[in-house]
């Protein structure tokens, strides 16, 4: 690096100062977002300016508003916008550029255009309204039907605010001596801190578990500045979905805030809210009173009418029930009769069957017996028949007696013949018979002579004749 020319820092810085002062020798209107705003003890205001694109910081610079100008600029700004300059705002600033060898580059705020910020606020508000509308939250709270009597009230307000005192006084001093149960949930009601504070109060009251008739959001008595917080999207999203109908008495002078828009009922001031609530309750009481006599009358009418209806219904029911019962009774009677009849018929049939069987047994037994009797008779005749046969046969067998006779007679005959033969033989042999026929027997010495030679002459012989005998002597 020996060939290089060396500078002192101050030389360089002086040169830069010169270049910048000569190049940026007038003021510029710049749009930037206030990333941080802080003040000094001497009344200066320090701002950090940024430009973002897609949430990325693409440019960043510091700017100073000297106390000499601050008062005038701020006064004009607040008059127009009713807002103070604060972190997060988009502003149109008139800047001059300066460079200081020690402090570096800086911008001096020469002026702030309030109308740009006003437009920007309005734009943001419109955007919030649009978003709420898109999310159907704009009229969401209006859907609550108010209780006929509002008694339990939750109030979100700054405790010390005059508006709160007005509200309470108005309520307590109502001529109808209505009683109210008011619970205060304190919150910061203006500026940057307000949305968060109000949401915290809201959560607290919602977590109490009390059924409030309405939620009253009021402010008043303080500064009229910094009310853009009621246009805050996050706050209104939360408020819109509150558990209870919201009454507002924020007291905006310009025009209504987004919170007024999402509220169930909006009124200008806390006093007006109180009056409205008292009036609401009074209207109910009046309506009730008016209705009361009518209600009594029509109640009596209605009771009579209902009594009549009940009687009619009951008698109709009774009649049709009794009709139904009557028809069922006759059905039961009929069933009883049918059961009886069919059972009796069955019994009768069985009786005839039994009688028939009895007759069968009787008839069959008798015919069986008769058959057997005939059979026995037959057997008897059989016995008689065969016995007689037998006897007859035996009788026949006795006929050998005929043979006996026959052979006996034959035998006798034969004997007879034999005897006859003998008889004849004997008869022819009988000497007497020969004598009778002329034969004679010659005896000598008493002996029959059959041979003449035995006789000699002289022998005396006797001759026997059939009758008598003769004696003779042999001569020769």
């Amino acid at each position: 690096m020996p060939n290089q020319q060396n500078y002192s820092l101050s030389d360089l810085m002086d040169e830069l100062q010169m270049v910048i002062r000569s190049s940026f020798d007038h003021s510029y209107w710049v749009i930037a977002e206030l990333a941080n705003v802080s003040g000094s003890a001497r009344g200066h205001m320090y701002m950090e300016l940024v430009e973002k694109s897609n949430h990325q910081i693409i440019a960043k610079a510091r700017a100073n508003l000297w106390s000499s100008r601050k008062h005038q600029i701020m006064k004009a700004f607040e008059e127009v916008t009713k807002e103070t300059v604060k972190t997060g705002m988009k502003v149109l600033l008139q800047l001059s550029v300066d460079f200081h060898p020690v402090y570096g580059l800086s911008f001096q705020v020469l002026d702030i255009d309030p109308s740009f910020s006003l437009g920007e606020l309005e734009r943001q508000k419109q955007e919030t309204i649009k978003r709420l509308q898109e999310e159907d939250l704009l009229d969401f709270n209006k859907q609550y039907v108010l209780p006929v009597v509002l008694q339990k009230l939750a109030v979100i307000s700054s405790e010390s605010a005059a508006g709160y005192q007005d509200f309470m006084n108005q309520l307590e001093q109502n001529t109808n001596s209505y009683q109210f149960d008011v619970q205060l949930f304190p919150a910061v009601m203006q500026g940057d801190k307000a949305p968060e504070s109000i949401v915290l109060a809201l959560e607290k009251l919602e977590n109490k578990g009390i059924e409030f008739d309405a939620l009253i959001v009021i402010r008043g008595g303080g500064s009229n500045l910094d009310l853009a917080c009621f246009d805050d999207y996050a706050l209104n999203v939360r408020l819109a979905q509150s558990f209870f109908p919201i009454f507002t008495g924020i007291g905006h002078e310009r025009d209504q805030s987004v919170t007024d828009m999402i509220a169930h009922t909006r009124l200008k001031t806390p006093t007006a809210v109180a009056e409205h609530i008292v009036q609401h309750n009074y209207e109910f009481e009046k309506g009730v009173k008016d209705l009361f006599s009518y209600v009594l009358e029509s109640s009596q009418d209605s009771i009579a009418e209902n009594q009549y209806q009940l009687e009619k219904a009951s008698s109709r029911m009774a009649k049709s029930s009794l009709d139904l019962l009557h028809s069922e009774k006759s059905e039961i009677r009929e069933l009883s009769f049918l059961t009886n009849q069919s059972a009796m018929e069955l019994i009768h049939q069985n009786k005839s069957q039994i009688q028939q069987i009895k007759n069968d047994v009787m008839y069959l037994s008798k015919s069986f017996i008769k058959e057997q009797e005939q059979f026995i008779g037959h057997q008897k005749r059989n016995v008689a028949l065969v016995a007689k046969d037998f006897i007859n046969r035996e009788n026949v067998d006795l006929y050998p007696s005929k043979h006996l006779v026959k052979y006996s007679l034959l035998s006798i005959e034969k004997e007879n013949n034999k005897l006859d033969y003998i008889k004849n033989l004997i008869r022819v042999s009988d000497p007497e018979l020969l004598l009778k026929r002329g034969f004679s027997i010659t005896r000598y010495n008493g002996k029959a002579v059959t041979n003449a030679e035995v006789l000699e002459e002289g022998n005396e012989i006797e001759t026997q004749l059939a009758k008598g005998s003769i004696k003779s002597k042999i001569i020769k």
Partner: protein, 65 residues
């Protein structure tokens, strides 16, 4: 005569007599006696037969009825 005369005995005696007579071995005197005996025996036998016949007839009669 101890032994009672039967048809058998009578008939035997008769047949003996008949054969004696037929044998011509007997004389006339004996013949006479024999003939007389034979007549007796014949009468006995015939009587016996008649009686037996009557018996038979009697029996027969019993069955005829």
């Amino acid at each position: 005569m101890a032994k009672k005369l039967t048809y058998e005995l009578a008939l035997n005696e008769l047949q003996l007599i008949v054969s004696e007579i037929e044998g011509e071995g007997i004389g006339i005197d004996e013949l006479s006696k024999k003939v007389k005996r034979a007549a007796e025996l014949l009468k006995f036998c015939q009587g016996k037969l008649r009686q037996t016949e009557n018996d038979v007839n009697e029996i027969l009669g019993q069955f005829e009825e």
